[in-house]
């Protein structure tokens, strides 16, 4: 039988090794060549830490632990096997689960210690539970919107920010009262219920286009709440994992907010989707040039350099695999085909890269926005598929445009621009795109999947396929 001292030592050592492995895991994520090793390091660290914890001397009841671990695995496996287009909602759901875990543990710890909770501990516990609760409902709402169970359209009303921040402020005030008077145990439910409400209210005004920022922000919150839980339990491994996750979410939300040209305070307070599209310009009747698949194929086939700019519209019409066929066909003819990816092209950071990788498009052909923008001037054809606002030159030139200042892909610098689009409707932001009326732009009207398919047939020589 192990002494208590020995078991504590073993647990501490497993946590220490797990910490090293977690940091290495993230370090190896820096390149696709080493990234899978990163996953293995993370898995091994996790296994060690969980195994070590099971040695904890205080554990008297293994039945429920085993049942819970098995049930968690049963739920986890299908969540690990969702389609790549569903990864954003899966991620949001997992933020909710993480936050649920943290909130439940925090709540149990409070009632175990109440009414004598030391002030500093109450302060971090309050933070843990407030962040956890609001992340839980916020993430569920985000997942619902992404899965289109809930309406994607932002719902706004007057004084919304005031109401939302008011709810959160009351929760914080209650937490402060609990820090000063931990014996007022009856107040505790408020620091769960109010943030739960805030989480719902926070997501109501947010539209689909803002989801990348929201998911990153919720990721950061989930990490910070886990770190706070580490403070409460005096568990350094948890503090470190939470801090890493918090930092990651923070960096991604800053990236996303820059890509959407939103101020940082906008991110912190979650006040997105406020700007209602300033009069959606109505029916524009300016002339556009349209082209058929044959013409498009002829131009693409004669080009030296092509940059394809995919947007979420491409994923919606499931055109990725047709786009890969186009990539193959053009590459075979000696055309240099690459992809220009805007940071918010998908529904979460990096989503578009995953969707293209799934379609077997080599990742060394995927260019970040800045690299692509350096290349457009030497590009024969920029082919825009299902993207709109991220190619809108008004963001550079028209100070009155709601998206003015947003970094865009400068497709208009290419010699020819082709845009595959269903019709002339405006994009997410409801803003007209002057790109479509440019002399060098050819509009290819139709469904992305079938249109790209027709181009592929033309390029490969019209033989049925």
């Amino acid at each position: 039988m192990m002494s208590e001292f020995a078991s504590t030592q073993i647990i501490e050592v497993t946590y220490l090794i797990a910490t090293v492995l977690f940091i290495l895991s993230l370090k190896w994520m820096s390149s696709p060549a080493t990234a899978r090793r990163g996953v293995w390091a993370g898995e091994f660290g996790m296994l060690l830490a969980v195994a070590g914890t099971l040695l904890h001397r205080g554990i008297i009841d293994y039945k429920w632990l085993a049942a819970a671990l098995v049930l968690g695995t049963i739920i986890g496996v299908p969540l690990g096997k969702v389609a790549m287009t569903a990864v954003p909602q899966r991620t949001a759901l997992s933020h909710a689960f993480g936050a649920l875990c943290v909130t439940l543990v925090g709540t149990a710890e409070f009632y175990l210690r109440a009414p004598s909770v030391p002030p500093f501990m109450m302060a971090v516990l309050g933070m843990e539970v407030i962040l956890g609760s609001l992340t839980f409902t916020g993430s569920l709402m985000a997942a619902g919107k992404l899965q289109e169970i809930l309406p994607q359209r932002p719902i706004t009303y007057k004084g919304q920010n005031l109401v939302n921040l008011g709810v959160l402020a009351i929760a914080v005030i209650v937490a402060i009262i609990l820090v000063l008077h931990p014996e007022r145990v009856y107040l505790y439910p408020l620091i769960v219920i109010l943030p739960l409400t805030f989480g719902v209210l926070m997501i109501i005004p947010i539209g689909g286009a803002d989801m990348p920022t929201v998911i990153s922000l919720l990721n950061s919150y989930a990490g910070l709440s886990a770190a706070a839980m580490g403070f409460v339990l005096d568990n350094k491994l948890l503090i470190i994992a939470g801090a890493l996750d918090g930092a990651s979410g923070f960096i991604l939300s800053v990236n996303m907010s820059k890509a959407m040209n939103r101020s940082f305070s906008n991110v912190l307070f979650g006040a997105f989707g406020q700007e209602q599209a300033s009069a959606a310009a109505g029916a524009e009747t300016r002339a556009v040039r349209s082209a058929s698949a044959e013409e498009a194929a002829a131009i693409l086939g004669a080009a030296n350099k092509v940059i394809i700019v995919p947007g979420y519209g491409m994923a919606v019409s499931q055109a990725q695999h047709k786009v890969r066929e186009l990539y193959d066909a053009l590459t075979k003819r000696g055309v240099d085909v690459r992809f220009g990816i805007h940071p918010v092209a998908g529904r979460m950071p990096g989503h578009m890269n995953v969707l293209l990788a799934e379609a077997d498009i080599p990742y060394d052909k995927l260019m970040e926005m800045d690299d692509a923008n350096g290349d457009f001037a030497q590009t024969d054809v920029a082919l825009v598929i299902g993207a709109n606002d991220v190619t809108n030159p008004a963001a550079r030139t028209d100070a009155s445009s709601p998206i003015y200042g947003m970094p865009i892909l400068d497709v208009d610098k290419a010699r020819t621009v082709m845009v595959i689009k269903r019709g002339m409707s405006a994009g997410f932001a409801g803003i007209d795109n002057p790109l479509y009326y440019s002399d060098k732009t050819l509009m290819l009207f139709g469904d992305a999947k079938s249109f790209v398919g027709s181009i592929v047939r033309e390029v490969t020589g019209g033989s049925g396929h």
């Binding site: 899978r36 993370g42 968690g72 991620t91 543990v105 149990a108 801090a243 890493l244 080599p362």
Partner: protein, 98 residues
């Protein structure tokens, strides 16, 4: 007790800096798998839940702990699975086996 919290704060601060430095270097190409990976790692919170449920100090704490284990474990399993699935898809161009 006070000193423990101070040590924890140091740990948090240093881990935050490491996080920034390490994650800044992650290529935007991999931001989606990065998020699902950090999500899985974050579910290390399961160790707190295991102790809570295992110690069974009160029925209330044991029930909350058990539900927390389920939630965290599903994140661990699902998070690692999907991260690996995504990373497997990232290939370089070159001779293709079809």
């Amino acid at each position: 007790m006070k000193l423990d919290f101070l040590t924890s704060l140091y740990v948090f601060m240093l881990a935050g800096f490491i996080g920034f430095e390490v994650i800044r270097r992650v290529s935007p190409l991999l931001h989606t798998p990065l998020m699902s990976l950090t999500n899985a790692l974050d579910a290390i919170a399961v160790v707190g839940a295991i102790i809570l449920a295992g110690e069974h100090k009160t029925n209330f704490s044991a029930i909350l702990g058990t539900i927390a284990i389920v939630a965290a474990t599903s994140n661990i399993v699902g998070g690692f699975l999907i991260t690996d699935r995504m990373l497997k898809m990232f290939k370089v161009s070159g001779p293709k086996k079809s």
